[in-house]
Symmetry: D2
Subunit: 259 residues, 4 copies
């Protein structure tokens, strides 16, 4: 019933992607294991370090994002921790973390399809392509911040740890063009930077949202525990924060059967 | 692997608790089937009608409860409908709908343990018992409303449809004592009324939260769809609604290894 | 913060789509309220009855579907009921209940776009269209059953309760063509029948998955409670049911830093 | 509306527990940040390394645990990744990962309440206490493995990195007594080892389940992606794996009203 290439359990031992788990515990960081499980290959030390920085970069953004709101509302209801965290994770949809996936897909497809091309040429084409379909490039701009400081820092760390880094090059080439055209508020955001970094680490774009889930689950957990410990049960919005825009009061028409 | 007393699939037919599903579709209401599945017995028409009224009574309470907030925040994130609804349902914990369960447990235990006793005597004892342990009786009082109009109406409908109704009698005997002692705001709420009504319908208290899930999932669905259709993606709390109470800014101490 | 056209809370009263909830409790079935909340309009008695039959039709399919499996596995882990139910509901994706949505979308678009056309003509065009793109029509065929008895019964009940029923007519015209071409196993399934019935009830296709969630949550709840009461905690697949197809055992290469 | 001591957003910068996130990205591992967010204090390098080993130790246990089953069943249903992962996380209840929490609570209470006592004395008392109430000590024994190799390795790594380690001492004192009395299959399992290690790292027991969520979410993600890529949609249990133990087929009694 369950066929898997991930983990083997045999003779009282657990093997992950072929390596004995107890040995991995001794010689690998969690970032290494994220890469090992995602790609099937043991990463170099520098690849593992970059993955650690990625995991740090997305760990929390305060109580503002909708996922954290969902987690804290649920945490106030008298539930076990995992229920509040799951509610938050459910929010990691196309509009929240999902841009890592779509941006990584874009970068991976563009870099793969035009391998010998110059990055600049791909960037120009991509900008034109999105302009033509009046679509927004995923991974640029931020809801709260004018420029996302995490993105710049992550790209800098990535350039230090790995080379070549053609996906990062493409992301930055796109960024240059967007800023030139539309202003600084369209710099690469953390989603874009993570997308480029994991692409250069050999991670499939489908895993992009997964990296975000692992990292941000930390923030969700700590927020849920804070809500449980410090706030009153059953967090409620005040009645004044609600505006009713529906139909006026009316009589229920006569309907004989139900009662 | 799966042993079950609920549903049989045989010869291209589906049987629920022994009855062919297509026949149930023709002769039963959904309220009937909730009772059939919960108790294993085909209810009388009046029992089914009371269950329908119960399902109607809990269907929505506007966008204020934490479950609805969680569902709408998640719905704003670019996710399929079921993800937003699941996030809301996760909030049906001990402080939100859970009182149906605890109140039904209390009523069922009290009524069962003292069958020949007078209801008044049980009510007096229960009040004393909770006073002694300084605990609040579940199923009384409401967060927004002074008196919960749904509770009164549901108990009235229940008395019309079924008899005897010893659990309702006990709930109302408790209510009388609480109001006398502490005021009208401690009248039975909808959780208490549902708890008493399902108890008189022969439904185990463990199913209490389940009844609430079925009914309120309707409200969650309609709110999630409203959020998806009418509001902008990625619903965000404004930065002014956040108050930081943590430690001051400080330097990261020198830690040589990671980068 | 919360703008809504669904529910108003005012002067200690709750109004749903303009009607006072306590009055709805007295004169409406749950099926009526599903329609009222979904469409904003008070349904006729026969429309409400059809909705009740729809809710009955999807209530359970035994322990076989992946959603029920997920709910029962989670229920075995020592969690509150709502967590197990939410896990099951998360499975109501594009391949599980989602066909109600896609089939209803198809039927509503076809019927709306060609109002004066004959149903037969639309059916022919739709069959050709899907054949050309080598796509499968949603709402036909069943994973376990040769013919889905619930579909036939639901369509029969629907024809009795409402008229006209152009979406049902289109579904059945499509079914005729599919059966003629490919055999009886491509008869309309319950997803298709529900899609057609809710379309004739004036329910938007986006709500299709919602109807399924409400109905099937009943099955998930009863299965989760059965698992909790009758089975041992931590339901586990036996090690023999697992087949490892990954890489052979290998040594962890020397990686100096982590420990 | 949101008061928090976790994260501050100010002047285009994000501060976590007082430290600027971009600086943390440069000098900390993810394990460091887990500790920083959980305890509010910047850990020493060795504490961070132990946390990394903890995160590695729980990352996967193959497709056998109920959480992984739930995640893979949901993953087969045509849903986004986060929905499958959330379904798996919902299974981290009292019987699955929850022992980290209960074991850490026990160790922390025992060590705190008897600080000057000898560990051996506390261990003897705890064994007697649990024997008296016929309860099982959380954190010992394993469902599949005779001895859990991860536990032994983790305790060894922990002893190398931190000192004193009174919670680990207590866990091992309890283990000695259990093995002597009941055999090797009652050695500390990974839950017990993680519980002791995080306790010596100064992490509150309430966070225990959180550590497991972060680590195992990696396994859930990789399994969900494997299911989506390699298996057919709508994973279904075969009808032969189901055993019906409910009532015999019977006629629906005459019930006039519903249709």
């Amino acid at each position: 019933m369950w066929k898997t290439a991930i983990t083997k359990i045999e003779n009282e031992k657990i093997f992950v992607r072929g390596y004995e788990l107890t040995e991995l515990m001794e010689s690998c960081t969690f970032g290494d294991i994220v890469l090992l499980m995602a790609t099937g290959k043991m990463p170099h030390l520098h690849q593992g370090k970059l993955m650690e920085a990625i995991l740090v970069s997305c760990c929390d953004q305060g109580p503002l994002p909708p996922s954290t709101n969902a987690a804290r509302f649920v945490a106030s209801c008298g539930v076990p921790l995992q229920a509040a965290v799951a509610a938050g994770i459910l929010g990691f949809g196309d509009h929240h973390g999902g841009a890592i996936e779509s941006c990584a897909k874009l970068l991976q497809e563009k870099v793969a399809s035009a391998e010998k091309d110059k990055i600049d040429r791909i960037a120009d084409d991509t900008i034109s392509e999105f302009a033509a379909k009046k679509d927004r490039l995923p991974g640029f701009g931020h809801a709260y911040l004018e420029v996302d400081p995490r993105a710049e820092k992550l790209l800098q760390i990535a350039r230090k740890h790995i080379s070549p880094h053609r996906h990062i090059d493409l992301l930055q080439a796109l960024e240059e063009r967007l800023i030139q055209e539309k202003g600084r508020h369209l710099a690469a955001n953390i989603n874009g930077a993570v997308a480029a970094a994991i692409s250069d680490l050999g991670v499939d774009w489908q895993m992009g949202r997964g990296i975000f889930i692992i990292s941000r689950s930390l923030g969700l957990i700590v927020h849920a525990l804070e809500e449980m410990k410090l706030e009153k049960p059953y967090k409620k919005v005040s009645i004044e924060d609600m505006e009713y825009i529906g139909p006026e009061e009316k009589e229920v028409p006569i309907r004989l059967e139900p009662s």
